[in-house]
């Protein structure tokens, strides 16, 4: 799955050598709008409201969080894509979703790769794979055996068609020979309810939101995405141990600027963002949300985006999903 695209990654990262000494000169002259392409209360929104005030202090200008919600976040991303490239309009969004939309939408009004400039990764939160306790299985292998013995009984609840958790469930299911049906819900909370009630019986969902249901026995944990186990559920293997495809699937949050934002401005934003993420209470708050802080350079974020776009592009193609006909 890991197609080497270092050449492309390198291209996106051009013009980002270390401008460190000149960074202070990159001043901001007016209010900075931090666009959240989802409704208030979601992960992106919480992070924006956590980071916004501190960025504001660092940059000397007010940072205003502006929610422009829509499905897949396209409306907000499109808005940022169209703003002047001066670093005064920023987007904070789910990077995996953003990487999957070019494959999902044939007629996307903006180009994820060229219209949005990666500033920096913020955090990662893994998926917890869980099942309804009535399904007699404790691992993917046992699930596959159950599926074989009871064809047409496994249903994986997703937070929506084409959502990253849907794509992950399909490609991981295929890897283990599972022939389950994807049942889309309106968002993650509804999907969890569907699995707790036994309406559906499998879910790939944000670890923090799913964990309480597992610890209370309403759901049974199977595995966790990413390269390490969850502290709270040390018995569940990670995707890396299981050697699944799309091992780093989960909720990746990142910050982007508009097309044409000069490299020194991006570098200054990245530096201040990473400083904010290094503050102990910010990291603690993000950990409370079930995420890990994942600071990085604009270049590493850009190459992550390129890799993710290829990976999800392949899954979307294999599953033949289109979200605009």
């Amino acid at each position: 799955m890991l197609t080497r695209r270092s050449a492309v990654a390198g291209l996106s990262a051009t013009g980002l050598p270390l401008f460190a000494p000149a960074l202070r000169a990159q001043t901001f002259t007016r209010q900075i709008n931090l666009i959240v392409p989802f409704a208030p209360g979601g992960t992106s929104d919480i992070l924006a409201r956590l980071i916004g005030p501190r960025l504001s202090q660092a940059l000397g200008q007010p940072v205003v969080v502006d929610n422009r919600p829509s499905a897949s976040g396209n409306v907000g991303a499109d808005f940022v894509a169209r703003q002047a490239g001066d670093g005064h309009t920023l987007l904070i969004a789910d990077a995996g979703t953003l990487a999957s939309v070019p494959a999902l939408f044939k007629r996307l009004s903006f180009n994820v790769k060229t219209d949005l400039v990666p500033v920096g990764m913020v955090s990662f939160s893994p998926y917890l794979v869980a099942i309804n306790p009535q399904v007699p299985a404790t691992s993917f292998a046992e699930l596959a055996a159950y599926d074989k013995a009871n064809p047409g009984k496994l249903n994986v609840a997703t937070s929506g068609v084409g959502a990253v958790n849907h794509l992950t469930a399909m490609v991981v299911g295929k890897h283990f020979g599972l022939n389950w049906s994807a049942v889309p819900y309106r968002g993650g909370a509804a999907a969890v309810r569907g699995v707790v009630s036994g309406e559906s019986n499998v879910i790939f969902n944000g670890a923090i939101a799913t964990l309480p249901f597992v610890t209370q026995g309403q759901l049974k944990g199977i595995a966790v995405s990413g390269d390490k186990r969850l502290e709270a559920l040390p018995n569940l293997p990670s995707f890396k141990e299981l050697n699944t495809p799309v091992q780093d699937a989960g909720s990746w949050q990142g910050v982007y600027a508009s097309k044409g934002t000069p490299a020194p401005v991006v570098a200054r934003l990245n530096q201040e963002l990473n400083k904010v993420l290094a503050e102990a209470d910010v990291a603690a708050k993000i950990r409370e949300l079930g995420s890990d802080v994942r600071p990085g350079t604009p270049a590493s974020f850009a190459s992550w985006m390129d890799k993710a776009m290829v990976e999800w592009g392949e899954v979307v193609k294999a599953e033949n999903i289109s979200l605009d006909g």
Partner: protein, 499 residues
């Protein structure tokens, strides 16, 4: 006993001066936005959400929930005095409440609305405390098939209780259903009927439609009747209902509370559906159904009890499971998450202060609301006595701010204005907007659950009759349809609704 200890914990939290103040602030704002038509509690909660970030979690939830149930009280004041539902759940209160006001009985109508609300609020608070655990288990028994059947029953019911011609009501339900389908289809992820407009991907905003249809269009209708000012200067000579009226209302309040408590727990239910259902039941069980629509006090008491009970019990799935049953509860989830609290079954055990504190505050809040609404009703009425030339532009402005603030979209303002015109058209052709709104809300849920049930059964439609709860709901629907179609009943129904 655990319950006593839990409630003691709750009152310990709710009775701190700071939390009492937040509770009071919440119900005060709630009453205010409830009284003023066009400003929904959801708008208010959305606007205030960012401000709760700095409050302790319990205080934030106490204030936000106060806005929600406070609006149920305030909404009825406007419904009775101005015939404008301040609140979607008080649409039904307009029917008989305003008739009472026209007959000079505004005082008793307001009093019974507050009494019924307090009565239901008290009982609902106890219900939440006692039964939150088993009730959330009941809600979990509902799967796609049951929800589909419930929606079918709900929509059929909305036709049964519509004013005027049943054909028009069916047409309105279908129109609402069609418009409800605009947006991204959950089952395929494909946009439908969006005319290629990206903002319509999430569907036509409910707030835009509701404010257009019930806020702005009401203003326009009122302006087309220049002599309407009299409606605002209703005499409030006598406040208390007579002993006989109180006695007549008690069974209605009890039934309303029961209906609201049950419907509130179910996702998609809540305050509005509860009040409709209660009105239908009161009318059906009344010995003198012809009084309804002409100032029957039970027609105020039942729905008012039901909407308040429904508003409160809709907290059960939220507080026990972290699952929002409606849009307002979804905002509450957002409020919890801003606080870093992941809503879910652990809240009750991990955050007993929050859980029981909010529950205790509900009862205190209801008590405050009776005081706010009964002795001080004159104050709220004087708010409505502000001349139209001042009030109307102010309301229009609030409508615009509220609609815009939901998703910062200019398009929602356009939609709001469009639906204001549609609303005027509805009134002019004598079609009721209530079945339209229900079709708009329940239609997409019905479709979604139908297709999900079919997906889960791998295409076998028998699933709807094989599951007992679903089958029972469908049988109820069939009975309701038969009753509707029977010529004798139909004649009577039309006679009842003709004014």
């Amino acid at each position: 006993m655990d319950l006593i200890a839990n409630l003691a914990t709750g009152f310990g939290v709710a009775l701190t001066p700071a939390n009492l103040a937040f509770c009071f602030l919440g119900v005060l704002i709630g009453t205010l936005v409830g009284v003023l038509p066009g400003i929904a509690p959801i708008t208010t909660i959305a606007i205030l959400l960012p401000f709760t970030f700095t409050l302790p979690p319990a205080s934030a939830m106490i204030m936000l929930s106060g806005i929600f149930y406070g609006a149920q009280y305030g909404g009825s004041t406007t419904a009775i005095l101005v015939n404008l539902p301040g609140e979607s759940s008080s649409i039904v209160t307009c029917l008989d409440g305003h008739q009472m006001a026209k007959q000079g009985r505004a005082g008793p109508a307001l009093a019974i609305a507050a009494i019924a609300s307090f009565f239901a609020g008290t009982i609902a608070t106890i219900i939440i405390a006692v039964a939150s655990v088993p009730l959330s288990a009941l809600a979990l028994k509902f799967t796609a098939a049951e929800y589909f059947s419930l929606m079918v029953l709900g929509l059929t019911g909305s036709i049964a209780l519509a004013h005027g011609s049943a054909v028009k009501a069916v047409a309105m339900v279908l129109l609402g259903l069609l418009l409800g389908l605009v947006g991204i289809d959950v089952n395929t992820g494909l946009p439908r009927m969006t005319l290629g407009i990206g903002e319509l991907g999430d569907g036509i905003g409910f707030v835009a439609i509701a404010i257009g249809l019930f806020g702005i269009s009401e203003l326009m209708i009122a302006l087309s009747r220049p002599q309407d000012r009299t409606l605002l200067s209703v005499a409030l000579s006598q406040l208390w209902p007579s002993r006989k009226e109180l006695k007549d209302c008690l069974p209605a309040m009890l039934r309303g509370t029961a209906i609201g408590s049950v419907l509130g727990v179910l996702p998609g239910g809540g305050a509005a559906l509860s009040s409709f259902a209660s009105y239908a039941v009161e009318k059906k069980t009344s010995a003198t159904p012809e009084r309804f629509g002409r100032g029957a006090i039970e027609g105020v008491a039942g729905p008012e009890a039901a909407n308040n009970a429904g508003a409160q019990t809709s907290f059960i799935p939220l507080l026990t499971l972290g699952i929002p049953g409606n849009a307002i509860m979804a905002l509450m989830v957002g409020a919890l998450m801003i606080q870093g609290i992941q809503p879910g079954p652990q809240v009750m055990t991990a955050q007993p202060q929050l859980f029981w504190g909010v529950i205790a505050s509900m009862w205190l809040g209801n008590l405050m609301l009776v005081i706010l609404n009964l002795p001080l009703v004159g104050l709220w009425v004087s708010l409505l006595r502000v001349p139209y030339r001042i009030l109307f532009p102010a309301i229009a402005l609030f409508c615009c701010i509220g609609t815009y603030s939901i998703s910062n979209s200019q398009m929602d303002i356009g939609l709001m204005l469009l639906f204001a015109l549609v609303g005027v058209f509805f009134v002019k052709v004598g079609a009721e907007p209530a079945p339209f709104i229900l079709g708009f809300i329940l239609g997409p849920l019905m479709e979604e659950n139908f297709r999900r049930a079919m997906n889960l059964s791998r295409g076998d439609p028998m699933v709807f009759v094989e599951r007992p709860i679903s089958a029972a709901l469908l049988v109820l629907t069939a009975l309701l349809l038969v009753v509707l179609i029977l010529p004798a009943v139909r004649a009577k129904r039309e006679e009842v609704f003709q004014e």
